[in-house]
């Protein structure tokens, strides 16, 4: 589904991603971990086409297409979704209206007719239930005045509504209380199919107890320095990142 080869990305002429490789197949869940500032959110920004994140080398193939050639909105329409680390507030724009616009724009791109009100509302209800999202929140303005945790849950509700092929969850777990974490994880698990894939960026093993990843990668200094199975997350929880930092330094010296 997604093939990232030697991806290099810089922000303000500062090189952040320095040759990143990652292969993701449909049906897989990849956890992406790594110390603060290692480049995890930068990878999400590069994949979704955020301005100022300049890809200076490498390539990204998504479902057979060169992802980097597409505009941000077309990447979204092709099925790349980012649950933001810091979701923004858009005052006065109703959550539901926004979702409807988004859904219909995506449908238009795929040559589907817009959803009728009735169908749309049915879908809203169904997905609200699926991810246990508060009805009152979906009727409010988009993230306006939402608590940190509510914003994160809204990201998951949007994910459920838009049904992307590839979902990148950037620290969705941070800011969630214990119950919310479980609910969000349950929602994600229900959304998992053989046709979609997830990149889950997190600092904590805890989320990965609920959403069991097929692979765990450690990003450090703009590169994936270690990959493994779900045990790797446990090992990191125990040992921290220092040993990997050391290893990677030694490698650079060599």
């Amino acid at each position: 589904m997604l093939s990232i080869k030697n991806l290099q990305t810089s922000v303000d002429d500062k090189e952040i991603l320095r040759g990143l490789n990652l292969e993701i197949r449909a049906g897989e869940v990849h956890a992406l971990m790594g110390p603060n500032g290692s480049g995890k959110s930068t990878l999400a920004a590069a994949l979704t086409g955020r301005d100022n994140y300049n890809v200076t080398g490498g390539q990204v193939i998504f479902e057979g297409r060169n992802l980097l050639d597409l505009s941000p909105e077309n990447r979204a329409r092709e099925g790349v979704f980012l649950a933001f680390q810091y979701p923004v507030e858009i005052p006065g724009v109703s959550n539901i209206n926004f979702l409807r616009t988004a859904l219909n724009e995506i449908r238009k791109y795929r040559n589907l007719s817009p959803l009728e009100s009735k169908e749309f509302l049915k879908l809203v209800k169904e997905k609200q239930k699926l991810v246990e999202f508060d009805v009152a929140l979906s009727n409010r303005s988009l993230n306006e005045g939402f608590s940190g945790g509510e914003k994160k849950r809204n990201e998951i509700f949007q994910l459920a509504m838009l049904e992307p092929k590839l979902a990148i969850l950037d620290e969705t777990d941070s800011g969630l209380d214990i119950d919310a974490l479980r609910i969000v994880a349950k929602g994600v698990n229900k959304l998992r199919t053989n046709d979609n894939a997830f990149i889950i960026i997190t600092h904590y093993q805890r989320l990965l107890e609920y959403i069991v990843p097929d692979f765990v990668h450690v990003l450090y200094n703009g590169q994936i320095v270690k990959s493994g199975g779900k045990e790797l997350a446990l090992e990191l929880e125990e040992k921290g990142y220092d040993w990997l930092k050391e290893e990677s330094k030694e490698r650079e010296l060599v």
Binding site: G49, R50, D51, N52, A76, R77, V93, S141, L162
Partner: protein, 481 residues
């Protein structure tokens, strides 16, 4: 955000959709302003002598008036002698049915989407159509008359209801008010007149559509709305003009009178030609609008969506004379390219327990300049007056400007006057968030702006709220950056 910038740039510089010219035979008065012209206009309209005398007083006052100097922009030099003060489609016969209207005119209004044909009209909206200096057609007159509601052009009102006109004309905005009010008194062309009798709730929206077509002319309409005791009316005006390289002057006066327990809701969707990207051409929109809540428990509410004009200078105001009366002002003003808006309101609290509410939403893009100017005045006898003002500015790009000038004069200690103001920018992060959900920049900006203006748009009658939303979106096309 270079990419976004470019799209925004394109978005906010897009062209104007109503800029075409109707090719029609016109009677146009020679350029220049003098007694002769004033007499000519009055004569063309078969006016009674008292009205001519009033016009002449207006002219004389105009001649000794100075241009205002306090606004937040450099007042352009307007050569009042190079303007023609009267232009009317040549056909003179009284129009009794649509068949009498010049087909070119009909086509024009069709093109503008104005429901001039009653059969095809929006249900629940009666329209008076003013083309340059004359009213062309008022729909649903008969139907309204059954309820005793008078809705006709100003000229007709002068002929048919001289008593009402004489009683109220100039009673809220005297010709001495300001230079443009004096000018308007002198050369007022057509406009709308409405009278709602006691206890009647007007069952449809009354609306006037103003169109400037002729070259080198100005439009100086006069509108007078009287809501008698216990009545209610919702009125809406819209306007467009062709694209022309030279500036054209629009100096209207609107007077509203609400008697006891009456309510007037006055909405404006102003879309005069704004000029081109470099600021060439466009309408100078210098308008005086004021209402008086004369009786107890009366209410006047102004709602305006201002997207057009090169310069907008208007402060729809309410004189809260009656006890327990309420004045409201809801405004969205959008400026892009080189547009200038200096707009706001004045609330004069005179009666006891009077309330006013001001919600102003400025949107500036490109090199646009947007100023809110408001006055809340509480008189010595205005026991328990309350005002709430919310004044927000939204900036799109780095080269536009937003300013607020709130003035408060309270002479009664029991007054509570609250003022809140915010300035925000459309964030690159907001636009990106929406793009990441599959929404393109143009739609993203439209969503954000409409969300921002929602509180005001919600005040518009349903049919027009949708139009206004589209208008905001279209007006911003090309300006996001």
């Amino acid at each position: 955000m270079s990419n976004t910038n470019e799209i925004l740039e394109r978005l906010t510089t897009e062209s104007y959709e109503y800029g075409f010219v109707t090719d029609i035979e016109m009677d146009i008065a020679p350029k220049g302003l003098n007694e002769e012209i004033v007499r000519f206009i009055s004569h063309e309209k078969n006016e009674p002598d008292w009205l001519l005398q009033w016009r002449l007083k207006g002219l004389h006052h105009f001649q000794k008036s100075e241009m205002p100097h306090w606004q937040n922009f450099r007042m352009p030099e307007i050569d009042f002698q190079s303007i023609s003060y009267y232009a009317a489609p040549a056909k003179k016969t009284k129009l009794n049915s649509l068949d009498d209207v010049d087909p070119e005119l009909l086509a024009t209004f069709e093109k503008l989407g104005i429901p001039i044909n009653e059969q095809k009209a929006l249900t629940g909206v009666a329209v008076d159509v003013v083309f340059d200096s004359v009213s062309v057609k008022t729909t649903f007159r008969e139907k309204l008359q059954e309820l005793g509601i008078i809705f006709c052009s100003f000229s007709e009102a002068v002929r048919e209801y001289p008593g009402l006109v004489k009683k109220y004309l100039g009673s809220v905005v005297p010709y001495t008010d300001n230079v443009f009010a004096a000018l308007n008194a002198a050369v007022a062309s057509d406009g709308s007149f409405a009278y709602i009798p006691k206890g009647v709730r007007c069952p449809m929206e009354l609306s006037t559509y103003f169109r400037i077509n002729a070259q080198n002319t100005g439009q100086f309409e006069r509108t007078l709305i009287i809501a008698d005791e216990g009545s209610y009316v919702s009125y809406l005006e819209g306007c467009t003009a062709p694209m022309r390289d030279e500036n054209q002057l629009h100096a209207a006066v609107v007077e509203l009178i609400a008697l006891g327990n009456a309510e007037i809701k006055y909405s404006t969707v102003q879309n005069w030609y704004p000029g081109d990207k470099e600021g060439k051409g466009g309408i100078y929109n210098f308008v005086t609008k004021r209402g008086i809540c004369k009786g107890t428990n009366s209410k006047i509410s102004w709602t305006q969506v201002e997207t057009g004009s090169a310069i907008t200078w208007k402060y729809p105001s309410v004189i809260l004379r009656g006890d327990n009366s309420t004045g409201e002002f809801y405004s969205v003003a959008l400026t892009k390219n080189r547009q200038i808006a200096d707009t706001g309101t004045k609330m004069y609290h005179i009666g006891r327990n009077t309330r006013s509410r001001i919600i102003s939403k400025g949107i500036s893009a490109g090199h646009g300049s947007n100023s809110y100017r408001g006055l809340v005045q509480v008189g010595a006898g205005a026991e328990n007056a309350r005002n709430f003002t919310q004044c927000d500015s939204l900036l799109i790009g780095d080269e536009c400007g937003a300013h607020t000038f709130p003035y408060i004069e309270a002479k009664n200690n029991s007054a509570i006057v609250e003022h809140e103001a915010t300035t925000s920018k459309i964030g690159e992060d907001q636009i990106f968030y929406l793009k990441q959900r599959g929404i393109d920049t143009e739609k993203a900006v439209a969503l954000i702006v409409n969300g921002y203006a929602k509180e005001v748009l919600n005040q518009l009658p349903m049919e027009f709220a949708v139009e206004a939303q589209k208008l905001l979106a279209i007006s911003l096309e090309g300006s996001v950056g």
